[in-house]
């Protein structure tokens, strides 16, 4: 094995005029990159900007049908332009480690993680199995996974999200490659876990590893990156040292990404640039008609002492929700924040009366709700709407947008009026009627969530239960959806139960915030006061872990 360490003076990654196209369609256009040892370069961009393809083309895995060209491409001081597949295999894992997007599913669920991590060693060294085991234990220790000796026998399904991400990082750095490519390494992780993973990457960087970080979230990137390159439509539109780029963004794209970060932005401020005026006007006219139709009366939903148990393996019953009380008032938003497993989604299902509480009660307008039979609830079901995280799987894949909305309108509108109503709903969520004939798989993530919101509004609800409605979206798309929800609330007087793990989003959207931890509300209060002066230690911990942009220096 040649020692990759002697390249410590030169860059560990150098790419000049890197371009990738799929069947003539250009995805990456002439990108220049350089990463030095101990440095982190972040590529930031919206989805579809070509950032993941860029990362994958750097290890020769841009995918079948990809045409990759580059004037120069050097990994660890060696040119890989025109490398054979065999040479690429030699470089992957040894010269460059790769952490794929989707941390939670990037380890083979059928194999023990010890094997997965040991594979890099098996493929690139002639170490004996005993020595490999020792190195695997070292790698697990270096990523801060305790009980390594137990862990190596476990499969990814037996590990929590943070543990999986650590194991994945361990498999990428088992051979101490001089360069690490990290594609959205903290997406889908809880904030506290995200903070730990960022700390781990920071310590790897301090140890001399060069890191190329890919992300859509400038707040995450700001924690780690020394330099940032903003990618838009396959081109780098701006690049520079982190502080400078955040303080004085020059390119339009950079400014848009910065404005999209919700943390610290007061309720009601727009996160996305204004839409085209015509669309806003037509949406407003559509909205103006809506209140006359439904003659809104104030509707409140009240939860009192909700308790819900779940049975776990071994027959034990654990409380998922334990004594949760709250009130939803017209025109206001209650933000419910908590990490995965805190019971957030169970609260949503209890509020919707999709599951019945073991103790406590949900009341609608002061009347019984959760204690009624489904038949008794049905007349008032239309008062409640729901928007979920995964819009796509909430649609019948065979239906077009018109079918989806028509289905939701069926109880209210005769067949011949449905198309017109569907168009009006689409205007309300700022979509053009051109999507009526489209199937949801062919829509973008943001468009899908808009269709989901339009569907939720079809029955003219007074309350929307939003369960992680923007968690699957890029920050910039998230910004547009949050702005839309805000506008709809003001125009239609809706009450929101807004559930999220993201403190920045919760702070931006909520009037009142409730912090959920292990099924209990540990702290509740007006959003501003709670974020300014958190009292419960858990709230403080969450706040400390939340990624945020540095305070603008002037």
């Amino acid at each position: 094995m040649s020692a990759p360490g002697d390249a410590s003076s030169g860059p560990v990654l150098r790419a000049a005029d890197l371009s990738v196209s799929f069947g003539g369609r250009s995805v990456v256009r002439g990108v220049d990159l350089e990463v030095r040892p101990g440095e982190c370069l972040a590529i930031v961009g919206e989805s579809g900007s070509g950032k993941s393809v860029t990362a994958r083309s750097l290890i020769g895995l841009a995918g079948p049908g990809a045409a990759v060209t580059a004037a120069e491409l050097e990994l660890a001081g060696r040119s890989v332009v025109g490398s054979s597949e065999r040479d690429w295999r030699g470089a992957r894992g040894r010269d460059v480690g790769f952490i794929a997007q989707d941390a939670l599913v990037s380890l083979d669920p059928l194999r023990p993680i010890g094997r997965e991590i040991g594979d890099s060693l098996r493929l690139h060294t002639r170490l004996s199995p005993a020595e490999r085991r020792r190195r695997v234990l070292d790698a697990l220790a270096s990523v801060g996974l305790p009980d390594a000796a137990v862990r190596i026998g476990q499969r990814s399904g037996e590990l929590s999200g943070g543990q999986r991400q650590r194991a994945l990082i361990a498999s990428a750095i088992a051979l101490r490659p001089p360069l690490l490519l990290a594609d959205e390494p903290t997406t889908a992780l809880d904030v506290t876990v995200q903070a730990q993973v960022l700390d781990l990457l920071t310590s790897l960087k301090a140890g001399g590893m060069g890191i190329l970080l890919i992300s859509h979230d400038l707040a995450v990137v700001a924690q780690l990156a020394d330099r940032i390159a903003v990618l838009e439509d396959g081109r780098i539109v701006e690049t520079g040292p982190t502080e400078q780029l955040l303080a004085e963004p020059k390119a339009e794209g950079t400014r848009r990404l910065l404005a999209a970060v919700p943390f610290g932005r007061p309720r009601g401020t727009r996160l996305s640039p204004d839409g085209p005026p015509t669309r806003v006007a037509s949406a407003a006219s559509g909205a103006a008609r809506a209140p006359t139709r439904s003659a809104p009366s104030p509707v409140t939903l009240e939860a009192v002492g909700l308790v819900k148990h779940f049975r776990v393996a071994g027959g034990r019953r654990i409380p998922a929700v334990d004594g949760v009380s709250f009130t939803l008032e017209p025109g206001r938003t209650l933000g419910l924040v908590g990490e995965s497993g805190s019971g957030k989604s169970t609260v949503a299902r209890l509020a919707l009366a999709l599951t019945s509480p073991d103790a406590g009660e949900v009341r609608l307008n002061g009347q019984a709700w959760s204690t009624l039979s489904e038949r008794q609830r049905r007349p008032n079901r239309s008062l409640l709407g729901a928007v979920y995280q995964d819009a796509l799987s909430s649609f019948d894949p065979r239906l077009t947008v018109e079918g989806i909305l028509g289905d939701a309108l069926r109880p209210r509108e005769p067949r011949e009026r449905r198309r017109e109503e569907a168009v009006r709903l689409l205007e309300l969520v700022e979509l053009s009627s051109a999507v009526l004939g489209t199937r949801p798989v062919h829509l973008s993530g943001g468009q899908r969530q808009r269709v989901a919101i339009a569907r939720a509004l079809a029955a003219e609800p007074r309350i929307l239960i939003c369960d992680e409605p923007v968690s699957a979206l890029d920050v910039s798309v998230q910004a547009t959806v949050l702005d839309l929800l805000d506008r709809l609330q003001r125009e239609l007087g809706l009450a929101y139960l807004f559930i999220s793990h993201d403190l920045g989003v919760i702070q931006h959207v909520s009037d009142t915030v409730a912090v959920l931890h292990d099924g209990r509300i540990v702290e509740t209060g007006a959003a501003e006061a709670l974020f300014r002066n958190p009292e419960h230690p858990y709230t403080r911990r969450l706040l400390a872990a939340a990624p945020r942009l540095p305070e603008p220096a002037g």
């Binding site: 994958r56 290890i59 895995l61 295999r89 030699g90 470089a91 992957r92 894992g93 040894r94 480690g97 790769f98 794929a100 997007q101 989707d102 599913v105 990037s106 380890l107 083979d108 669920p109 059928l110 194999r111 997965e116 594979d119 890099s120 493929l123 690139h124 009980d147 137990v150 026998g153 476990q154 499969r155 399904g157 037996e158 590990l159 929590s160 999200g161 943070g162 543990q163 994945l168 498999s171 990428a172 809880d190 779940f310 393996a313 071994g314 654990i318 998922a320 990490e339 995965s340 497993g341 019971g343 989604s345 169970t346 292990d518």
Partner: protein, 325 residues
């Protein structure tokens, strides 16, 4: 709801224990199924018009005397109330006594046991051959790009649709009559097994290949496969170490069903190739209205089917740790 980190360490012994419990529960359920099968066959056969004593003495055409019929009824307990007959039969079956064949005048249990081996051998070999064929087809067709996939998918659909009697006839015409390589009937020895096994294995491989190819393709596209490639794993390594195991999962789950499919196929195949076995015994017994033999075969097949599904159920859980024990 899964609490974040505390669920990390389910003790391995606990899982093995739960698997054992599960196997016991499944076997308990299997006993219930056997009881239901015995009950159903008992009453179903009594519903068939005709006098069992008459059948015993040579069928409806026989000119048996009233005395002879009465004697037979007394001998076989047919003169007792139906419920008593049912209970007596259950008691006998529970002790492994299947009665004696009307036609062959021999004990059913030893008769069936002597036939069981041949059929089991045929079924197990066909299952193995079906697996190998399906895996080969799936691996090959996923390597050949879109064209390979189309060809693979076409072969699977055609294979799965082939009826046993037709395939057997064609195989005999080509390899026995035409080329003369293999015997047209199942002679003792390995050569005689080839055509029967192939007849059963090809349609099975068509079914298994369809599901295996799907999951093989999914696994090759999965994020963990990208991780493996990014570690420097070769395409072959990704297949061997990762994708094939994922492809095998639905195959294992289907093997319980496949076994039942093979046993019913054995009825046809054993008859065409004149091969001794349970299938041919069953066919003969049905045509001769040999009730004890029919009941015996049905119960034995049900028992085998239950055992195989328990085994595949447990095997699937050992292979895939994600499935709760």
């Amino acid at each position: 709801m899964t609490p974040g980190s505390p669920r990390a360490e389910p003790p391995a012994a606990g899982r093995a224990g739960r698997l054992a419990l599960r196997a016991l529960a499944r076997i308990g359920g299997g006993v219930l199924v056997l009881w239901a099968v015995a009950t159903l066959t008992f009453f179903a056969l009594r519903l068939i018009p005709g006098d069992p004593a008459q059948a015993l003495l040579g069928g409806p055409g026989s000119q048996a005397s009233e005395e002879a019929l009465a004697a037979v009824r007394a001998e076989y307990g047919l003169d007792q109330p139906l419920l008593a007959q049912y209970l007596r039969q259950l008691g006998r079956l529970a002790t492994g006594d299947f009665g004696s064949s009307y036609a062959l005048r021999t004990e059913v249990a030893p008769l069936l046991l002597s036939q069981l081996g041949g059929t089991l051998l045929l079924a197990v070999l066909a299952l193995a051959a079906g697996w190998v064929l399906a895996l080969l087809l799936a691996s090959w067709s996923t390597r050949g790009g879109r064209v390979g996939e189309r060809i693979g998918s076409a072969l699977e659909v055609v294979g799965a649709g082939l009826p046993h009697f037709w395939l057997a006839t064609v195989l005999i015409l080509v390899f026995s009559v035409g080329l003369g390589w293999l015997p047209p009937i199942s002679t003792p020895g390995p050569l005689g097994l080839v055509l029967p096994v192939v007849t059963l294995a090809v349609p099975l491989a068509g079914f298994l290949g369809q599901v295996m190819r799907e999951s093989l393709l999914d696994a090759l596209e999965a994020p963990f496969a990208l991780s493996a490639r990014a570690r420097g794993e070769s395409e072959g390594g990704v297949r061997r170490r990762h994708a094939l195991r994922h492809a095998a999962l639905p195959g294992v789950a289907l093997s319980g069903w496949a076994f039942g499919y093979l046993i019913s196929g054995a009825v046809v195949v054993e008859t065409i190739f004149a091969r001794p076995g349970l299938g041919r015994t069953l066919l003969n017994a049905v045509t001769e209205r040999d009730v004890p033999v029919v009941v015996g075969v049905v119960l034995l097949v049900a028992l085998a089917y239950i055992l195989v599904t328990v085994v595949t159920d447990i095997a699937a859980r050992i292979l895939d740790p994600r499935v709760p024990a």
